[in-house]
């Protein structure tokens, strides 16, 4: 068996250490080693966005990042979006707008939308749709998701 590498990173504002093999994706390590099951595996090839995480402020698919690559870096997963005070406005609006059915895509959409609002607090509908092109949903038809994101944003409706 391949020897394991020791990795230290900041995950959801906490310093975390883990051992992984170089071949393991960040998604695999999040789910199977660190018990962070929020990021989902939809396709494992970069097409669906269900595994979206924010790495050093940038939205990426964790299935296309090696876990060893996050040494010394800062990661936010869906588990780090809500605060002890309550849900993030995006999470609240997803519930209010019923922007999910099976919910499998939801963590990815919320993380992706958070990355959008962090850099563009008042996106237009077109900007929301273009930004979320890398996230697939088989259930909702997207409309409710876009409405929830616009409602959570400062964009006047």
């Amino acid at each position: 068996m391949q020897s394991k590498t020791h990795v230290t990173a900041t995950i959801n504002s906490e310093e975390v250490e883990f051992l992984c093999e170089p071949r393991q994706s960040l998604l695999e390590v999040l789910r199977e080693t660190l018990g962070l099951m929020g990021a989902k595996e939809g396709c494992n090839n970069g097409n669906c966005g269900a595994c979206s995480v924010i790495l050093d402020g940038r939205l990426v698919n964790s299935c296309l990042v090696l876990a060893v690559e996050i040494q010394g870096r800062n990661l936010t997963t869906i588990e780090g979006i809500a605060t002890p005070e309550g849900l993030h406005p995006l999470q609240q609006k997803f519930i209010e707008h019923a922007a999910l059915q099976c919910g499998y895509c939801t963590p990815g959409f919320i993380v992706a939308s958070k990355a959008l609002l962090d850099q563009n607090p008042e996106p237009s509908e077109h900007e929301v749709r273009a930004w979320l092109a890398g996230n697939l949903c088989r259930c909702t038809g997207y409309d409710r998701i876009v409405k929830a994101v616009l409602d959570a944003a400062d964009t006047p409706l």
């Binding site: 068996m1 391949q2 590498t5 093999e21 170089p22 071949r23 393991q24 994706s25 494992n44 090839n45 970069g46 097409n47 966005g49 979206s52 940038r58 939205l59 990426v60 698919n61 299935c63 296309l64 990042v65 090696l66 060893v68 690559e69 040494q71 992706a112 990355a115 959008l116 273009a130 930004w131 979320l132 092109a133 890398g134 996230n135």
Partner: protein, 294 residues
């Protein structure tokens, strides 16, 4: 996924040593958006993966009006598209690089990876070709350069020798009255691979009524991205008319040798060549400040 070792060196010389030490068993990792999928599916093998994203020269963009643009091979698409010099002086390049995947992919995928992966449908390559981009290659035997149009040699195969890797891509400063554009046909708005891609660049004369020179390149219609040199040469010295542009598009169409696959038939691709080359030339002419004679 298959097992491999991982190294993330800080300098180019370490990469050369690592590549030489593995005798072809090592692979460069940039954004991993092609490589990790291929390793997972067993389409490529590696005993060692060398992450080059910690090497400053490979992740920097530099521009000066005299020497032009230099893009580190591992620079991400989003870094390139948000660079003010790139968007001001090379909008035709942004056309192509902006099309690669959605946000998640843009934040990881590099232009060097797009080139080295050598897909016939890679979006950045025709745009680089019409900008006369040059590959900067390093290995144990020193450095060399190669025009981008000579870099891909077969589907998935590039001109790098064992032990060599791509360090950067340079683009000469654009001449006055230069314009370029790239576009592709896909069945949806986002997130798909080109059925056909077309890039064009033009330099116009001082009245902006004649072409001084032109370059046309096509993607997804041959085993490698294609420079349609005759079609470009045809326009040199000609007036900027719809007729001449259509003739150049027909000439580019004639050198395309598309195949039928799940994305489109050879016949459809042939048709698209002429349509897209004409539109790419329209964009290039517009950006060069030109307009069609009546």
């Amino acid at each position: 996924m298959q097992s491999f070792d991982y190294e993330a060196p800080q300098g180019i010389s370490e990469v050369i040593q690592l590549l030489a030490g593995k005798n072809g068993g090592a692979r460069i990792l940039a954004g991993g958006t092609d490589l990790l999928v291929q390793l997972r599916e067993g389409r490529r093998n590696a005993r060692l993966v060398i992450d080059v994203k910690n090497i400053p020269e490979l992740t920097q963009i530099t521009f000066d009006p005299k020497n032009g643009l230099r893009i580190g091979a591992a620079t991400s698409c989003s870094q390139i598209c948000s660079d003010p010099n790139v968007s001001e002086h090379f909008p035709g390049l942004v056309d192509a690089i902006h099309l690669i995947g959605g946000v998640q992919i843009q934040n990881r995928a590099s232009v060097g990876g797009n080139l080295c992966n050598a897909s016939p449908a890679a979006d950045a390559i025709p745009a680089l070709i019409v900008h006369e981009a040059v590959c900067h290659i390093t290995g144990l035997n020193g450095t060399r350069t190669l025009p981008v149009e000579e870099f891909c040699v077969a589907p998935g195969k590039n001109a790098l020798e064992s032990g060599e890797f791509l360090t950067s891509i340079s683009i000469p400063t654009t001449k006055e009255r230069f314009g370029a554009g790239y576009l592709r046909f896909i069945p949806r708005n986002e997130m798909d691979i080109a059925v056909v891609g077309a890039g064009a660049s033009v330099v116009l004369d001082s009245d902006r009524k004649r072409f001084v020179s032109a370059r046309i390149a096509l993607g997804a219609v041959a085993p490698t991205p294609l420079l349609a040199s005759d079609a470009g040469a045809f326009l040199a010295g000609k007036a900027v008319t719809r007729e001449n542009v259509k003739e150049a598009a027909r000439m580019a169409q004639a050198v395309a040798k598309p195949i039928t696959d799940l994305r489109g038939t050879a016949e459809h691709r042939k048709h698209l060549c002429a349509v897209l080359v004409e539109r790419a030339l329209d964009k290039a002419i517009e950006r060069a400040g030109g307009h069609y004679a009546e």
